[in-house]
């Protein structure tokens, strides 16, 4: 049951900690509109918020949040929501705002809180005029206006036209939403889409027959953000191989030889070491990995060459349906500035569909989520994939001793430790507590058949996310041929969290262990509390006792969670709807029983979406647990694109060549001379 009035705290995320900008109270049940413009009840005035962004549906028996097709989406915690009940355990996130439900512990306590808060403003779902709030500068202001709500449309786009499993192409073409038809449509417009479109173009398809629908015209926009946040600036190296080249379907020349060539042109003969790295990889030399900035530049160049801008359509894909003429209808909403007579909804029809929408969410371990929800103003707990520059800034500007807990043992943890080590040059008081689930002995690395993974400092070492033969060797063969149940076993044996064997990282660990500013601790945290100390508030963490060990307690200034991103497709409303509508088979999740990605054939076809001659394919993270392990990698995307484009070519898809040696060679020459395909 909901007790009225409901109190909501609205916080704004800036560069520093979250700041509470408003406390509002909702006196009664009703539908409260959230958006940028004045006809909403809750106005969040920044450009990232859509004009009519979301509904807060308040009923006697509970609260629900419903996105209104916003550009930047609505989240509860880290999960993107379409319409979802909201219990207040996690905040509702809209652009840089977080809406927290103030706990209704007891009526009296709530009243005290209200009394203390002069800023609390009542919001009525009925039209009860009140004094307008003091104007704040645009881009930062939040207003609570008191207008009459309108009921949310029960038949919202695209459900108003996507009624059954199969929709009529004729009806769509006659509707105001129709945005044209094409042969090849890729959904996502990220790196997976880009690599797929690159293959299509090089195999003979013109730009007019390809459309890529997604948020950002820069195909690596999302990836670059994740890189930057997880401490891979342009000059730092990715965890990727020289021959994994999203800008070049042949994988030759690789990034190593290009870097060498660039160095030699400037008479830097040290550049030859990159070639030697590829030659002596792993055994004689440290594995070569490219600089992120160089990879992005190369993708820009290829995007220009293949005419990516002509193929790109800005929009957020909301739904996908089979049509009655053996094709697919893709419903999307374009940005506000592209509205046609106020209509932003569009439907495009295509014969061949490709879905590559990437990771739906960053992951927060539950205890950290709960801590963040309880103490939203404490900028102390971050996911490594979030922007957390504030931590490094504070460590620099305040040269007092500070403890940073780094949670997780993957590559991101290694990078974060590297960054903290660099900060130590300015602040010698930084101590790193590295929290890992359990210790791993020298001979306790993962085993698969006759081989075992190398362990250093309780962390398993591996050059890339998976063993190399997962991208085209014995291990790819084995996973491809295995049954779903056998695949889970292979993935469990090969998977696990690993980091790269980098000499500089080892040196940091050695130094830190020797000087005592790096300390590994093991176990799950049982409690996470904010405690007041002489040096200000700190986070107190208690670790569950390990066998024969006393429980560990850590008092930290910051916690950086490096446990990764969430790949669960049910966090994406588009994929959830698609999976439910067509009962798409799912892969088995690693760890047994949990549901994994969308099941695809070895050609990366979603066979349950086959529609006569129409074909649908998927790529990237959403196919996790399928025929290929490294789906979310550059090389994995090249592989899946090649598989699906080859598959379509054999079916006789328009203008796709079979790409034999001669065509391959002539197209490669065109790539080298930067000529259009």
């Amino acid at each position: 049951m909901v007790k009225f009035p409901i109190l909501l705290d609205i916080y704004q995320r800036g560069e520093g900690p979250l700041k509470r900008v408003e406390r509002i109270s909702l006196p009664e049940a009703g539908d409260y509109a959230i958006g940028r413009v004045g006809d909403n009840q809750i106005v969040l005035d920044t450009p990232e918020v859509s004009k009519h962004h979301a509904w807060l549906l308040v009923r006697e028996d509970g609260i629900a949040v419903s996105d209104r097709g916003s550009t930047n989406r609505t989240y509860i915690g880290d999960s993107e929501v379409d319409t979802s009940p909201w219990d207040g355990a996690l905040p509702v996130r809209i652009a840089q705002f977080e809406i927290h439900l103030v706990p209704q512990t007891s009526a009296g306590e709530t009243r005290v809180n209200v009394a203390q808060e002069n800023a609390t403003r009542a919001v009525s779902s009925n039209a009860t005029p009140s004094a307008p709030a003091a104007p704040a500068p645009r881009g930062q202001s939040i207003e609570v206006a008191l207008n009459a709500p309108s009921a949310p449309n029960e038949t919202r786009f695209p459900r108003n036209i996507f009624k059954g499993e199969i929709v009529s192409a004729q009806e769509i073409k006659a509707s105001e939403f129709f945005a044209g038809e094409t042969t090849y449509i890729t959904v996502g417009a990220g790196l997976g889409s880009f690599v797929w479109a690159d293959h299509l173009r090089i195999f003979g398809v013109s730009t007019g027959e390809i459309r890529a629908i997604g948020d950002a015209v820069v195909p690596y926009a999302n990836y670059q953000r994740l890189c930057r946040n997880s401490q891979i600036p342009p000059h730092e190296r990715l965890r990727s191989n020289s021959l994994s080249t999203p800008d070049n379907i042949w994988g030759f020349p690789g990034y190593a030889s290009r870097e060498t060539w660039k160095d030699l042109k400037e008479f830097r003969f040290s550049g030859l070491k990159h070639i030697f790295q590829v030659f002596g990889e792993a055994s004689l030399a440290q594995t070569f990995t490219p600089r992120s900035g160089e990879v992005f530049k190369s993708i820009d160049k290829e995007a220009e060459r293949i005419g990516w801008r002509e193929m790109f359509v800005a929009g957020r894909v909301l739904g996908i349906r089979k049509t009655n003429d053996e094709r697919y209808a893709v419903a999307y909403r374009v940005p506000e500035d592209e509205a046609r007579a106020g209509v932003r909804e569009r439907v495009m029809i295509g014969k061949f569909l490709h879905i590559s929408t990437g990771y739906p969410a960053t992951r927060f371990t539950e205890d950290l989520q709960a801590f963040k929800a309880r103490f939203p103003e404490e900028a102390r707990v971050f996911n490594a994939y979030e922007n957390h520059e504030v931590v490094y800034r504070n460590l620099q500007s305040n040269p007092a001793p500070a403890t940073v807990v780094v949670r997780g043992r993957g590559i991101v943890a290694s990078r974060i430790i590297q960054r903290l080590y660099e900060e130590r040059a300015k602040n010698k008081g930084i101590t790193i507590v590295h929290q890992m689930r359990n210790p791993i002995g020298k001979n306790e690395g993962y085993r698969y058949k006759r081989a075992q993974r190398y362990v250093y400092n309780h962390i398993e070492n591996q050059a890339f996310n998976w063993p190399k033969a997962c991208w085209g060797g014995q291990l790819l063969r084995e996973t491809e041929r295995a049954s779903p149940e056998e695949r889970v076993k292979i993935y469990e044996a090969l998977g696990g969290t690993t980091t790269a064997d980098r000499r500089d990282w080892r040196n940091i660990i050695q130094l830190g262990l020797g000087d005592g500013w790096y300390k590994p601790v093991f176990g799950h945290f049982e409690t996470l509390e904010l405690v007041k100390t002489d040096q200000g508030p700190k986070i107190q963490m208690k670790l569950k006792a390990q066998r024969n060990q006393p429980p560990v307690e850590v008092v930290a200034d910051y916690v950086l969670d490096c446990t990764g991103l969430i790949g669960d497709i049910s966090h994406s409303p588009l994929l959830r709807d698609l999976a439910e509508t067509y009962k798409l088979p799912r892969t088995l999740g690693v760890g047994g029983g949990k549901i994994g990605g969308i099941f695809v054939t070895p050609d990366f076809e979603i066979s349950a979406l086959r529609n006569g001659n129409g074909r649908a394919y998927a790529a990237g993270q959403i196919t996790l647990g399928g025929p290929q392990p490294g789906v979310d990698t550059f090389l994995g995307m090249q592989y899946s694109a090649l598989r699906s484009v080859d598959h379509m070519a054999v079916l006789g898809a328009p203008h796709l060549s079979l790409f034999g040696p001669l065509r391959s060679f002539s197209q490669w020459i065109r790539w080298c001379t930067n000529a259009t395909p």
């Binding site: 994988g251 792993a282 014995q474 050609d603 040696p661």
Partner: protein, 159 residues
């Protein structure tokens, strides 16, 4: 490289046909003496010995491939670094030299012709001519023509 056994064999035969045979042909014209056989029609003199050496290299390689593949099983990545490829190619040539020295080709011509120091120099020169382009091809040039090769563990053809 991440070859399977089938892929190793396929790549070896591919390199034999497309690099080994043409280069050996040119080399055999170069080393031909006045007594060598003539090519039909064109009439150029050629020497059969380089082809025998090349065939020996192929046979030794095909026999050693299962051994390499077995070694790969103990490598976590199931890979075969380029450095290994380089090193074992030279080992294979040394084995071929040993076989020649031991007398496998003695049936074909007088021992003195096969075992002179000049002959051993020519074997090495021939090997270098074949090995260097083959190794460069494996480093990535094959992919320019055969885009699927790297994903097919070294086998040819479609996916």
């Amino acid at each position: 490289m991440v070859p399977t056994l089938k892929g190793r064999w396929a790549t070896r035969i591919l390199l034999f046909l497309w690099i080994g045979v043409p280069i050996t042909f040119l080399f055999s014209l170069f080393v031909a003496g006045p007594d060598s056989a003539r090519l039909p029609l064109i009439g150029l003199r050629y020497d059969i010995l380089p082809f025998q050496i090349l065939s020996l290299l192929l046979i030794v390689g095909l026999i050693l491939d299962p051994v390499y593949f077995y070694i790969q099983q103990f490598r976590w990545e199931r890979d075969w670094p380029f450095a290994f490829q380089f090193f074992f190619s030279i080992i294979e040539f040394v084995i071929v030299l040993g076989l020649v020295w031991w007398g496998v080709l003695d049936f074909s011509r007088p021992r003195a012709d096969l075992h002179s120091s000049e002959s051993y120099f020519l074997y090495t020169l021939h090997f270098a001519f074949v090995f260097i382009p083959s190794f460069i091809a494996v480093l990535g040039f094959i992919q320019i023509f055969m885009i699927r090769w790297r994903f097919k563990s070294g086998e040819w053809g479609r996916m």
